[in-house]
């Protein structure tokens, strides 16, 4: 088990070394980067948006139901919703959702190419297949994912606002005051950094599993599942470490 873990880790870093070689042609890299940005990030906007809207609304209701003490100002509900969204939901929870969507997409795409000899064909042409296929995915996911985090935050707050307006669970003015209170810009940076890191992990681990997929279509399925499970666990572990390092 330990041997297997060490072997996989070593292979993962060798794979990253191949991925981060200088692209053969920058023009091709940028074209692929645009394609991957669309496929991985833009296509995730709807999913992230819908989930964030609903979670924002739910957070307002849950926080309000737990803060019924009349001594506590209602604006703290808005404040707590905002902090929950920034610190954990918009980065970690969204990343876990993306691990499923983005991770399975990358792993199955590259895995299918592996078992149908498309990757062998590229290698035989003298093309660095890891660089061509994976580098644009990793760079697009890592660089652009903070925008998903910011979008998630904005829509989460809107979701909360809609619930407050519709149910008057707390006065709207208190909610607005709460989401503007005690603003700490570093938390936004912290959340964007986490999101980038998690999306780097999602894209690279999923690509690694797909790249070394074997055993036909069942093998591709297995590699996708493994990629999602491993990435989800590593995201939670990385979350703990990064939070300890950056917030304390």
């Amino acid at each position: 088990m330990v041997k297997m873990f060490l072997e996989s880790t070593g292979r993962y870093f060798l794979f990253l070394k191949a991925v981060f070689r200088r692209p053969e042609k920058w023009k091709i890299f940028w074209r692929q980067f645009i394609n991957e940005s669309d496929k991985l990030i833009i296509s995730s906007v709807l999913l992230v948006g819908v989930i964030s809207l609903f979670i924002g609304g739910v957070l307002v209701i849950q926080t309000a139901s737990n803060l019924e003490n009349p001594i506590i100002d209602k604006m703290y509900i808005g404040y707590m919703v905002r902090e929950s969204l920034i610190l954990e939901f918009c980065s970690t929870m969204v990343a876990l959702i993306l691990a499923g969507k983005m991770g399975s997409n990358i792993s199955s795409e590259i895995g299918s190419m592996r078992i149908t000899e498309q990757i062998d064909a590229m290698e035989m042409m003298g093309v660095n297949s890891a660089g061509f296929l994976v580098l644009p995915k990793i760079t697009a996911a890592t660089i652009l994912s903070p925008f998903l985090m910011l979008l998630s935050l904005a829509l989460g707050l809107v979701g909360g606002y809609v619930v407050v307006e519709a149910t008057q669970i707390i006065p709207t003015a208190s909610y607005i005051t709460g989401i503007k209170a005690f603003y700490n810009g570093f938390y936004i940076f912290y959340s964007c950094f986490k999101m980038s890191l998690f999306c780097f992990m999602i894209s690279s681990i999923a690509a690694f599993n797909g790249y070394y997929a074997k055993g036909g279509s069942l093998g591709v399925g297995r590699s996708s599942t493994k990629a999602i499970v491993v990435t989800s666990i590593l995201i939670l572990m990385a979350d703990l470490i990064v939070t300890q390092l950056m917030l304390y």
Partner: protein, 251 residues
């Protein structure tokens, strides 16, 4: 020309190729034949560098593959065209983009020049009017043709075909065989075809090497193969009814 000398390859201690020596000449269809599991694909993968031999030498012209640096190997790969068993066309690209793919990486041609060359290659393999289609919209035979067009896009000196007829009907098989043979002669390529299809062997086998349990037991051509002096080859050839009838003098 490709020269193989005393090539050995084993997996987990089990020998798969035993002391293979053979020469593949340009302008000819050189065939590797044998039953499934005899070591044909392993030999082909050694030839194209996807596997490394345990011992022995593979020479491209006067250059030994084992002594080539990574940069030289990369250059060599650009002079090699490969038709994979399942065609291995890129799903993300259209027919014309598939053919243009190697040009985009290894030439400084303009898009118009690449397109012109791709269309020339597609015309050579009789694929006309399918430029914008994706591989999954093509039949098996068409996919093979596009695979050949991609393989010859950079005007290679060497062409390797791994079971070019697998999954094709006899008529399409013959067309693909003739296409490979014609292109080999026209561009004077050193072509190596890995197959166990008797029709192909008889149709285009200018030079044939028969592998049995990892050993090259017989070498000849499509004329001498019907008078085999090797029992294993006779068993292999006689598995085909037409060839058996010819060998046994019924025709």
């Amino acid at each position: 020309m490709i020269k193989v000398e005393n090539l050995n390859k084993s997996f987990d201690g089990v020998p798969v190729l035993k002391n293979i020596s053979v020469t593949y000449e340009p302008g000819r269809c050189n065939m590797i034949i044998g039953a499934s599991g005899s070591g044909k694909t392993v030999l082909l993968k050694n030839l194209i560098g996807l596997l490394e031999p345990d011992s022995g030498e593979i020479c491209y012209g006067d250059r030994k593959l084992s002594e080539m640096k990574e940069k030289e190997k990369k250059q060599l790969r650009q002079s090699i065209g490969i038709l994979f068993q399942g065609s291995a066309l890129f799903d993300f690209a259209t027919v014309i983009e598939n053919v243009m793919f190697p040009m985009e990486f290894f030439t400084d041609w303009s898009k118009a020049q690449m397109k012109e060359r791709a269309q020339y290659c597609l015309e050579k393999v009789n694929v006309i009017g399918s430029d914008g289609k994706y591989p999954n919209e093509l039949s098996g035979g068409m996919q093979k043709r596009v695979g050949i067009a991609r393989a010859i896009a950079l005007n290679p000196s060497y062409l390797f075909c791994d079971e070019p007829n697998s999954g094709l009907d006899p008529y399409t098989s013959i067309l693909i065989d003739r296409l490979i043979s014609d292109l080999t002669r026209e561009f004077n390529m050193t072509t190596v075809v890995n197959t166990h299809d008797m029709n192909s062997i008889l149709e285009i086998g200018d030079r044939i090497g028969f592998i049995h349990e990892g050993e090259m037991l017989w070498q000849g051509d499509n004329k001498t193969i019907l008078q085999p002096d090797c029992q294993e080859l006779k068993d292999f050839v006689c598995a085909n009814t037409l060839a058996r009838n010819i060998i046994e003098g019924r025709y």
